[in-house]
Subunit: 447 residues, 2 copies
Amino acid sequence: MKFVVIGGDAAGMSAASRAKRNKSDLEVTVLEQTADVSYSACGMPYNIADPNRAIEDLVVREAQVFREKQGIDLRTGHRVEAIDRAARVVTGHDNQGNAFELKYDKLLIATGGSPIIPDRPGFGLPGVLALKNLNDGRVMKEYIQIRAVKKAVIIGMGYIALEMAEALRARDIEVHMVKPRPILLPWMNRELASMIEEELQANGVQLHLGQDVTSIEKVDDRLKVICADMKIECQLVLVAIGVKPNSEIAEDAGLELGPKKAIAVDRAMHTSDQDVFAAGDCADAYHVVTGQKTWIPLALRANRAGWAVADNVIGKTKELPGVAGTAVFKVFYLEVARTGLTSDEASAAGFDPAEVVITGQTKAHAHPGSSIMRVQMVGDRKSGRLLGVQMVAREGAAHRINAPAVALHSQLTVEAYSQTDLAYAPPFGPVWDPTLTAANQLLKKLR
Amino acid sequence: MKFVVIGGDAAGMSAASRAKRNKSDLEVTVLEQTADVSYSACGMPYNIADPNRAIEDLVVREAQVFREKQGIDLRTGHRVEAIDRAARVVTGHDNQGNAFELKYDKLLIATGGSPIIPDRPGFGLPGVLALKNLNDGRVMKEYIQIRAVKKAVIIGMGYIALEMAEALRARDIEVHMVKPRPILLPWMNRELASMIEEELQANGVQLHLGQDVTSIEKVDDRLKVICADMKIECQLVLVAIGVKPNSEIAEDAGLELGPKKAIAVDRAMHTSDQDVFAAGDCADAYHVVTGQKTWIPLALRANRAGWAVADNVIGKTKELPGVAGTAVFKVFYLEVARTGLTSDEASAAGFDPAEVVITGQTKAHAHPGSSIMRVQMVGDRKSGRLLGVQMVAREGAAHRINAPAVALHSQLTVEAYSQTDLAYAPPFGPVWDPTLTAANQLLKKLR
């Protein structure tokens, strides 16, 4: 049986490796358009922050290991352009311009996502960069070094933009961030978002909210970012306004799409064609809180979905419950975490949400080095269910979010969560964990 | 209605405050034998570590606040010696030697626990100290300063002993730890315990395992700790071999006792007498994994049980699900955490346990500053349920334990836990959280 995988990053390589390992007579071919496979894309900002680290540090497993040790027919520089589902053939071109076609019995589309680049003047200029694959990181790192970049503009303020702001500041680059909307992290509770805004300012990042970039111009050896009310000259522009799923070849092949045009998959990762799977940032997922489809492209889901595809390809039925939307990122010295729904998302999904924000401490009463932790919690007035949590703190938010995440998978009520036996010792938090205090407060609003 | 509380620490003051706040015409009297109420007992090791901090820093709320602002009749220096359940009267003596007696309608026994002191020669000598209440901390701190202590012996190696080893080393005191049993932390998986043993040695703590202390002698102004095979001279001995519930007056009053002679309570904290409650370190609890009674004296349970008593006293029915045995402590630069059952405890409770230990990383692939994290996980072969988790790491264990703790409350299977959507970003861990890797490995043993 021939198993063909389009895309050699997290989902694709996880699926290829596991399928081959568990069924050695399976013919597994991976077609990857770039030269790189199996690397930590999420690690790029931290690598770019350090001029002494090679970008290749991020490679988890070399291509030859997949080829020689694992017996996977891994073809880099191979871009798939079309899927003929009737003939069960994929076609494309390699980076020498040669056409190829390949038969499959089972196909996995793991084409990932791409940065959204506005169709406006100047976004294609040299020095206007985006960050998705390892080569983008390589290019950016070289550009910063060769051009001795001293000033950069980041367009967008999502988590990649924020991580990159920290990375560029670590290299002593002046950083300006611009976005058209007037508020930072609109999905976040304002009391929590204000902590992030202060942290960015304290670390020398200049925020320009409500500034839509209409064009970028080249002026001598510099770039000029032009907004309605202001212009910023710089050497480097990072475009980080968002990501979209790479679902064009799936759409062209007549496969069903889900939210945000991600490829629609069932719990076993089948697309609308039972012999074609999709996994990773190009595919949608069920949300464990709403039971509805969502598109939240994150690394753990990509790896897990890759494994599930492998199991289903070799005939072990594997269904995934879905995602809770758990995410964490670091902004300078702050940990920012969320799981589940915001109040707006909860209302949209048909819940009747109530919300609290509490300000707690990261260590026990009188313990040295304590700082504040803000926790936002959302519950449903009708069912009493816990629906979502957000957290910001200098420490202890990144892993603390996992307790409410498990509670969301278990569909616990806020009351049941408030009774959970969580860890306490003075160096790590107050007797009542801040998430328990939030639950206790939220209960008063739910009754 | 008269509500009398015996004991003014976590459980007692939580109950008194909440009951009075929610029913202002309740007559609430708290009888506390020491001079101190409402302080962070768990914070004592960290306070003792710092000669510049006053022990009074640990007081959360002053006695006069309870008296004047909250309207609680708080009587310190009042030791209750007997409960006459037929007459609904408690009797005792104050610290002036005056007898008192007090009528109650509802009574809460919140007498806490006491350090176990072996009945052997020399354990009553000056300089042989234990650590339970705030005055013990005060005495120890003064003793260290006045005697300019340079060398100490800690008898016992439980978490209080380990926290105190760190505290005394912080004050540059030579620390020897002795215990009769040949292994450190016998409840802990050996691969995890070895990390703690190395950490203690790396920080200059001298461990003497398998050494039973037969007596302590006074030699000039020093103390000599005498074991079968060795003698250690020092200036200070800390006895920290364990804690027992203060249940004597309850037993004398004919109330039922549970495990370890803790006072038996139902889910609403009633003792075997419906008008007498017990809460905190003197009372037992249901274990959410086994459904059986257990005695795990910890601060969060004490506070929570105090609140539940208050609710039940004023007529709001409140039942607590129980404890998961979640605990965390710090040993120098290590975080040590557990929740649920060990394999031995699981077998004793009728499960068919399988166990794995994995060695993971605290940060993502190639992220700077990563160190190892060991995770032990226990599951039940019959039901597939998750039964317990232990963790040791330099960072990220303290809060990470809460995710499996919530899973235990939800009675999740290992399979269901393995599918939970946990947070990932490179500074905080690998894509697959180490607890997920442990679950994935454990699943292979459960099938």
